[in-house]
Symmetry: D2
Subunit: 152 residues, 4 copies
């Protein structure tokens, strides 16, 4: 994707990600965002045993979805100024193969982003690079900030 030039998009540094990776949802599930820059984001899931149900050692489909949805959101955020946030309008996920292994990697990429909307695709692979799930989504860009919580 050739990105629209935005003068001052938020700089999502490693420090920022380190902080966000401490949020309770990510820790509960086992999600870690590794990079988010220029409309792309990369994350890793090391699933907690509790989210591997009904098949032992296999994260539930909803956990893979959560990984994909949040990784897509970071790809959108990487193109926004710090006073904007995003909401998922729709996400279509396809499950291609059973998710087995120690960790899973999700790569998300913005196909096109305007002032009000973003379109993305993403995929999840296992540690052997086997494709497990693919998805596409549309997000809405809204006022607000993930970086300055509401009420502060």
């Amino acid at each position: 994707m050739e990105l629209k030039k935005e003068e001052s998009v938020v700089d999502i540094s490693q420090v920022t990600l380190d902080e966000f990776n401490q949020n309770p949802l990510y820790k509960l599930v086992g999600i870690h965002i590794e990079e988010a820059s220029a409309g792309r984001a990369l994350s890793r899931l090391r699933p907690k045993p509790e989210v591997c149900w009904p098949f032992p050692n296999q994260p539930h489909g909803g956990v893979l979805f959560t990984l994909m949805d949040t990784t897509m959101a970071w790809a959108v955020l990487s193109l926004l100024k710090s006073d904007r946030n995003c909401l998922t309008i729709h996400l279509d996920i396809q499950y291609i193969a059973p998710a087995k292994g120690d960790y899973f990697v999700c790569a998300a990429e913005v196909s096109e982003q305007t002032r009000s909307m973003s379109f993305l695709s993403a995929e999840i692979r296992d540690s052997e690079d086997q494709l497990l799930a693919v998805g596409q989504a549309s997000f809405r860009i809204i006022k607000g900030s993930l970086f300055k919580p509401q009420g502060e």
Copy 2:
């Protein structure tokens, strides 16, 4: 939906559901399956604080997806014999309004089910009956059983 007659579909009693509702994923997230019968299933989410991120008191979209996906699976299971199980092929979810409130109800219904596939739709509403999310999905019917864990 007019269901295909199956001579001996699994009887998903309240006792069975009570047992399954103790699985670690449901407890972690706050999911409770209330009914699963004749191609329909009903569930309730009382989200744990940990899954309400990034907006306080609002379950993450991935949690609503997990609720929808698993409720759909129960609707499929309610039409299967006990030696069959199901896998999500794809699920398309649309987020219609922010999810606020103490609990959320998901209703899933099979539109059509054959020997090898099931097509479903579902919706999630809040305690005020406001529509929050809708979804549609296809599942594959496979050999195996949720009721007799693998290896037993």
Copy 3:
């Protein structure tokens, strides 16, 4: 759906529909919009032989999609003032059974519509009321008018 009250939504009369039903696309394919009111629309496809390929007497999946997409658009339009139009953001269609028969009926309904977006679901049935396809979609509401062509 409980519709938001709009003071003066466009009145899509039978005369209006009669006129629109003469458009070249509908005639080419065999589409006829029968009703569009209060967030619901109903249409009928009597497929031309040319669009029944590769299976004789069965309209191509793209024709069923076209029927669904345009019927959804009419459901959206029925809630808009005459200076607004709509665009499909995404549509997810599932094909449940082969489409055989003389005619096919599509019913579309808005689940929720705001100033800027609409969420819908739709289904297509054959003349025996057999469910053939289901879909869900999001549309964007834009300035413009279907009723006053651009440039006039």
Copy 4:
């Protein structure tokens, strides 16, 4: 995608495509399949004026869908033996930008194909290489043949 090796997949030669490109649906709409090989297919739409409605010179969204669906089917077919055919289970299409221009190119690619199912993604671009629509789909592999019409 690393394709599963199939000993004798159908050879979709230019001669074969030339013949199929004469089918009534493609001619009505303006579709031309250009290549189909090894899980990939490429097609071109030169839309007939009749399918450009309601916006002049812009093919209807259903026409872009038809182009995408049929191009995906050719990508699936390129991996099948001649006694197999495919059916769309679901297709999720996202419309990213208005479709203007003389012609449109669709590229479809199989992500994963097993004996019974295929998962694909596709995109449509205009003559300036602007991305207009993206889609993902699942297809079922069935007995039958596109190459030996039923009844012969």
